[in-house]
Symmetry: C2
Subunit: 717 residues, 2 copies
Amino acid sequence: MAVSNGSTPSGHPCSSATNAGPFNDSMSFVDVAIIGAGPAGCMAADVLSRFSARGLTVRIFDKRSAQLENGQADGLNPRSLEIFESLGIIEQVQKEASPMSEINFWAPCPETGRLVRTGQIPDTTPGLSRFQQTILHQGRVETHLLDDAQKHSQGAIAPERSMLPDTLSIDESLVADHNSHSITLTVRHLSEGESTPDAYKFDDKGVRSGLFRSSLLSAAEEEGLYKKDGTAERVETVKARYLIGCDGAHSWTRRQLGVKMLGDQTNFVWGVLDLVPRTNFPDIRMACAIQSANFGSIMVIPQPRDLVRLYIQLPIRVEPGAYLDKSRITSETILATARKILHPYTLDYESIDWFTGYHVGQRLTESFAQYNRVFLAGDACHTHSPKAGQGMNTSMQDTWNLCWKLGLVATGLAKPELLETYSLERQPVAAALLSLDCKLARSWSSKRHQLQKGREEDRNAEKLGEIIAKGKAFTLGISINYADSIIVGKDGSRGAVTSKQYLASKLPVGERFYSAQVVNQASATADQLTTRIPFTGAFRLLVFPGDITKPAAKERLQKLADYLDSPESVVSKYTPGDLPRWAVIDPVTVHCAERTAVGLYDFPQPSIFHPHNYKRIYCDGPSHHRGDGKAYETYGISKEEGAIVVVRPDQYTGLIVGLEDTDMLDAYFAQFMLPAKDGGHPGAKVAEVLPPDWSKVVPLEITGSFAVEEVRVNGTS
Amino acid sequence: MAVSNGSTPSGHPCSSATNAGPFNDSMSFVDVAIIGAGPAGCMAADVLSRFSARGLTVRIFDKRSAQLENGQADGLNPRSLEIFESLGIIEQVQKEASPMSEINFWAPCPETGRLVRTGQIPDTTPGLSRFQQTILHQGRVETHLLDDAQKHSQGAIAPERSMLPDTLSIDESLVADHNSHSITLTVRHLSEGESTPDAYKFDDKGVRSGLFRSSLLSAAEEEGLYKKDGTAERVETVKARYLIGCDGAHSWTRRQLGVKMLGDQTNFVWGVLDLVPRTNFPDIRMACAIQSANFGSIMVIPQPRDLVRLYIQLPIRVEPGAYLDKSRITSETILATARKILHPYTLDYESIDWFTGYHVGQRLTESFAQYNRVFLAGDACHTHSPKAGQGMNTSMQDTWNLCWKLGLVATGLAKPELLETYSLERQPVAAALLSLDCKLARSWSSKRHQLQKGREEDRNAEKLGEIIAKGKAFTLGISINYADSIIVGKDGSRGAVTSKQYLASKLPVGERFYSAQVVNQASATADQLTTRIPFTGAFRLLVFPGDITKPAAKERLQKLADYLDSPESVVSKYTPGDLPRWAVIDPVTVHCAERTAVGLYDFPQPSIFHPHNYKRIYCDGPSHHRGDGKAYETYGISKEEGAIVVVRPDQYTGLIVGLEDTDMLDAYFAQFMLPAKDGGHPGAKVAEVLPPDWSKVVPLEITGSFAVEEVRVNGTS
């Protein structure tokens, strides 16, 4: 189903290579090229893999020869975990991760200058999400995403490593035609020597260093790491319809586009150490903010496998634009500073896994996209300090936002305008993150908020603690509220449809849809609703019909079903005939009648009870083992009025309307969907499953015994 | 550390093969040989793999060339799931499995003879376990166990397939010496043709048949499947210290030992169908007991991947000792019977995955073990119908019981007498299962309990329902209570020690230890206690010291610590010096002081707070996200008196004593443990971690700013 011009090769996108061998050009076609296999790139690959069965082709390039094993990002906020649940990879992530429970604040006692514990807050604000912030190394997260992408694409999507982008050109005359491969990218297949930077090395104590990819490097220095020494295997030309640049703070893609980063680093330098500590500091397995009297600050983040990460403020300031001599930062110098800050607590170690250093810097790109064809995501469009634990989260959530849109547009189901909502939605998130990070960085790095002797109200732990606590709503990823647009029917300012927000008063339109427990009508099992609407690229029509044992509610549901079954409904119109009827817009029903008072056959077929599909009707009520989810109450939905909640593929609430508001459904989807080229589904043609007609069953005399055949030892019967 | 005679080869047990090639004998040595890679054999391999790092060698043979992909057992009771949690494989099992929530009963209406729903009960009795009964195909369970065994043994333990046992001899003169390889087993390496039975085939409609391994086959017929056609690669001689026969109902091992099965099959024949149904029967995704008026009964078990298993009573009775002509049982004939029973509900299908047939039979072996050297487990010692869903559970729980004992004895840590408790504990479980299964089989297969017109009190669904409901305590695997013995200090009838049961009144000695939520003192995370005491082969001393902010409680704990740290304690005596101090008997503490009122350094080191081990001290109290586990209350432990609960490696409560009852700890472990040959640990020699001595830290003047170095653009500082 992927729309493509005639010259797209079938099979693996590489298969059209016309010449193999060093430096002989080859050319291939692909729908989406991803540059960079970090968290943003891997998330992009995984989301797009769900469109692979519809013919979408995807390649993902990374200049490094192998995945990172140490260092870099490790914080996963509840929203990222919700996304992993939607992708079906939450179990493996949670099994490996180290959950965070509490942040402890340490600051000098005003009288003695000694470190004392001054406060503690839960790391994740209770009640916001079913998931709590947790810690897992970025390399493991990337692995889970890539494994999943490979699984969903039958092996077609796999990272191509040691591949360095070389040139990029965009044929502006073609960009308006989304079927065209208007992007030409050349990629060098690096030799072993070229793709393994010398700087990927150890310090003088043999500790693995992350400096070679830190913000302490200039773009030129980073570029210099992958020196073209003339041994590259070959240079390949890739013609792509879309390109996603997920290639980090010094993004090559961004520089080719001539897009600038605005803002600059502030001047404090921090060191990072991953170590298995031997210490008598009692909160070493807690997240901690430690601010010493005179020697700077430490942030403690416990990691899996007994590791602890320490972020340590170093006594070095770098003028904007200047770069530090990297050799001055070693595991030794960082550790020495950490010991001064923690004194008199001891800090030894069993092993040090990794270290690095960075400038604090907040920078935002001028724009997130060009021509709706090339997109920037992750560090390529926003850089900031690791203090808020947002790097991996924001990067993944960028492409989580972008790629379902790209999948729908690239397979011809949605209008290219849908892609404009990427910048609209993600740019403000990046801006908010940078603003919070500025505040945090200032509070951590300066003494302005330090506790001054005798000034009780100035206790720095409270100051920093306040910023951290207030920032939680944002850093947990839960409070993000996307603006009104063609896919967020909030107030009609940009789109044409205004939700009836009062019908689901606790589900703000534009915010992420959160889970409530419901009970499966067919199996009586307690289920989280979000577990049952995993990411497939489909919109969900969550139908809350109320108590359908009441005739009015039942009639209202029947009318909705009649609409959905008609050839004019959004389901029929926008779903190509060669896809299953519910593959694009998928109705899921949560009623609130007593479960045993109704049966599956009380629900209209095929739109509400899809025949033989036992995972589409749920009951809001008590379960045998997990209590009562009270979904209607949780969502603020009246059991009398009911509601339809349109949940976007990325699990954000797009629209809330009443059961009778089918015209609003029409108007909402018409803003960004394209009618199926084959005319869609011709109304309901699905065979119904009818219960037996008992009037035709004759009463049965119950006999005293069964008619059975006896088999004897001699084998005769 | 495995005790073995001098000729045991190092490295892979196969490595000593003196001759390769067809029919040239080779000889190798192994500590434990397992025959059969079904659920019992795979559990044995996984449990024993935890002793692999101590040098224990294990081989597991299976005559089949590949793992089962269809059919056979699929029910997992809560106790099995608790065991999987203990082994660390619960996540992958739960992700694939299909949870059961409710059993629905269907029976004829007395007036019309029509099938009506007559009742429903929760499938797992609420409150018994954190886990509920679930369904996963035996092949997947075996895979998870084998993968885990391979992981824990660094690849050394892996199933050897196409290996048919040929001869078994036991040198009785050697059996008393547990270091000797008194068992001689020869095993044929089968050729492809020999290990893939012809009967592993399809019926006339192309449906995969399980008849070739069903109870409809005689031992001779089953033996005949693996015909020795002279093409076997070679015959290998394996000298083993221990042998576990997990080779099914027709157990070759059992027959070599000359051990008889007592009991016989009753005479009804049942068919089994795994299919993706197309039906209008509304409870097809529920567990159901359906008893028709005149055509027999069906049990419905929903499986993962939209499959449903139907157990269908066939109108055939077989005289004891007779065997049915297997060709008469096909997917077609079974389906035809099912349709009669369900009428007027329809039963079509999208696909049929597998079918088989079986006799109902309850048989129990005369003995479970010989010489404490050869053991039978699973179907090899007890066969019964699949109706109670116990086949896979009981089999796995047999070797779960046996193999930690075998691991301890084989590595020289425990006395051989420990192995006698295997029969003592598992024989009564098998007997109880057979008795329940008899009742169930009679109720399912006869019309005695059928609903008779006008006899309201005889409603069969209630009768069958009653048996099922009453049997739940047993079938869920939770109520098993092992008798008094050297490892169960219940009433002193077989062992010398009698628990102070009143100190933990809700933790019956001899029953499985159940979980309560506690809060980690070091990280403030909410944890299930059982998650934190996974299976490692170690006994756990769960120390409940009460509120240690109270001087009396603190003093009592200190006294216990002094004992544990002494060279005379059970920890010091029974733990070889070359193992970590807590590898054999592992103290875990759950206090009930307010978490923030105490710190890690308030707990005595090293026995209570093992230095740098942050997973051994927990608090009974509120958590940030998961409420208050109320562990003391849950276990019936007084916050004033406290208790020590000794939990066996297999998670059964072995002993309950007071904190001061160290003499009882001594007496209990002396019954079955062997003092370490190297003298054990010489008392506490672990360095303590002391908090800073603040009296030596001088007060610090807090300065107005940091001393920092400036790096300028020109690179100088």
